[in-house]
């Protein structure tokens, strides 16, 4: 019995350290971004906001941030439209080559980004699409759309189509039944998908490094050039700001989801854990 307790204690300690290893290191960027030093020594010897000033005072940083936001918004719109349509087709329709289509839709998440980056760079050079908003929107939409399809098709699978039939029995046309019954029910999943689509585009480094240049650089590509050879401490300031924004966004989404799964848990125990994985390279 006591040996079992010791094993449990050791297990708990190991897992606690692992959890710390997963979470803690990210937050080091926050104190470091207030360091006065050029070299990001730990612990900072004196504090200042000079790296934040260097970010806000630099046109290139601001331009790349605005470019990333603009691309992210366009990608979100495009992938929600394309992804929702495709999810409707995949769940409700008949079409040939089902397996191949499912594979095609998932492929952008599974193929290493460096291959995709090389491929679109080669291709976009032929059409003058490198360093353009359109080029970024096209490839980021391909990378982001699987998350919309996955989220929306999951919602459609659990949607009871008799609700639509009931609405039509009561006199609604198919379009108004869809707009007034189906759409509101799948909307939360579309929003989750949209959030993922935006973050996928906004965080994406690898294809961005291939496609960026003097005419157009996204924020991650700009950050990449600020850490690749010599570290520009401005990156620490940008990182802390982004960290706070993404955590706020996702904890908002996570809390909504948790509350919803809580209220659903009574009917259907065991569905409370979100298990959402993003491609990370």
């Amino acid at each position: 019995m006591t040996s079992r307790r010791i094993v449990r204690g050791l297990l708990g300690a190991l897992v606690g350290l692992t959890a710390l290893y997963l979470v803690a290191p990210v937050f080091i960027v926050v104190p470091m971004s207030f360091s006065d030093s050029q070299f990001l020594k730990f612990p900072p010897t004196s504090w200042s906001t000079r790296w934040f000033e260097s970010y806000f005072g630099d046109d290139e940083w601001i331009a790349s941030t605005l470019a990333s936001i603009q691309i992210g918004v366009l990608v979100t719109i495009a992938s929600v439209v394309l992804g929702t349509l495709a999810a409707l087709g995949m769940v409700r329709g008949n079409y040939p080559l089902r397996g191949a289509v499912a594979g095609l839709v998932l492929a952008p998440v599974l193929v290493p980004y460096v291959i995709i980056g090389l491929a679109v760079y080669a291709m976009f050079l032929q059409f003058g699409l490198t360093e353009t908003t359109l080029g970024f929107v096209l490839i980021h939409t391909a990378l982001a759309v699987p998350y919309v399809v996955i989220n929306v098709s999951a919602a459609l699978f659990s949607f009871d189509r008799r609700l639509e039939l009931a609405a039509m029995n009561l006199g609604a046309g198919p379009v108004s039944a869809f707009l007034r019954i189906t759409l509101p029910i799948i909307a939360p999943s579309m929003i989750t998908g949209a959030l993922f689509a935006f973050i996928t585009s906004f965080d994406e480094v690898v294809t961005a490094v291939f496609l960026s240049g003097p005419d157009l650089t996204t924020l991650p590509a700009k950050m990449w050039s600020g850490v690749r050879v010599q570290i520009d401490p401005t990156v620490a300031a940008v990182s802390s700001m982004l960290l706070l924004v993404t955590l706020a966004l996702f904890s908002g989404a996570g809390i909504t989801r948790f509350v919803r799964s809580r209220s659903g848990a009574r009917r259907n125990p065991g569905t409370a854990e979100p298990d959402t994985v993003r491609q990370t390279q």
């Binding site: 190991l14 008949n94 079409y95 291959i115 995709i116 090389l118 850490v227 993003r278 990370t280």
Partner: protein, 309 residues
Amino acid sequence: MACQVTVPSTRERVSAHDADPAPAAPRPPRRAGGLLDRWGSLVLPLVAFLLVVFVLPLAFVLAQSFTEPEPGLQNYTDFFGSPVYLDVLANTFRIAGMVTVVTLLLGFPYAYLMTLAGPFWRGVLMVAVLVPFWTSLLIRTFAWVLMLSDTGVINTVLREIGLISEPLPLLRNLTGVLIGMSQVMLPFAVLPMYATMRSVDRRLVQAAEGLGATPLQAFWRVYAPLTAPGVAAATLLVFVSSLGFYVTPALLGGPGDVMIGELIAKQLSGVLRWGFASALAIALLVVTGLLLALVARFVDLRRMLGGAR
């Protein structure tokens, strides 16, 4: 269970034996290879989009690997004939293998404790696994640079408490790559193993102990084999994802730890070697594809990759 078995729905099995076509139902049974209907045509815009934006460039790279700078297999013979490049390939597999081992060793106890913990602690552990997905890969890798450098957090703390006098070499070498990549990949190991472990009936372990097995025997001979599908899924998923890494090894590794992803990118800086870069990309794509086909036998990829249920 993480392993996915396709069972046709009762309706489909019944209607296969019936002379009658299936009656009109809220969700008509889908036939594999059925003809395009009105709902089905909604798939077309996305399929067309992905064929143009995603598949066409990959086909272009495939073609380029045989035609640039001149037609032939030269790019592939260059790659497989040069010890320097084979070293990079071996390095890639070695690093991916080591990352897989580290994540399994840390992930298995983690997933196991999640199944034992109460709802609160399970939630805490789940959030710790998911936080890495909420933060950008570049920021996390950059944070590791700050942690591991000679004047970084770890070396400073160890020096302050007097454990070391010279900074440990943690950055720009294999140690740095392993620490950084394992952190990124750990959730990919924990989630499939947890999904499997959650469905294991713990009374089987108690029964084994009741029949005279020691706790270790009961764990090893009853519990561990039941979690094998999850462990297999985790192993393959981590390994195959690690092969294509670029950002983390490029920032945390040294000249000796170049992986194939970085080698591909390098071909385009300075002298442009399109054909060779393309051949490397195709080699990586083929290996990734084959391994993923293997993964798909153990785990529902769609659920792993974005599963709102």
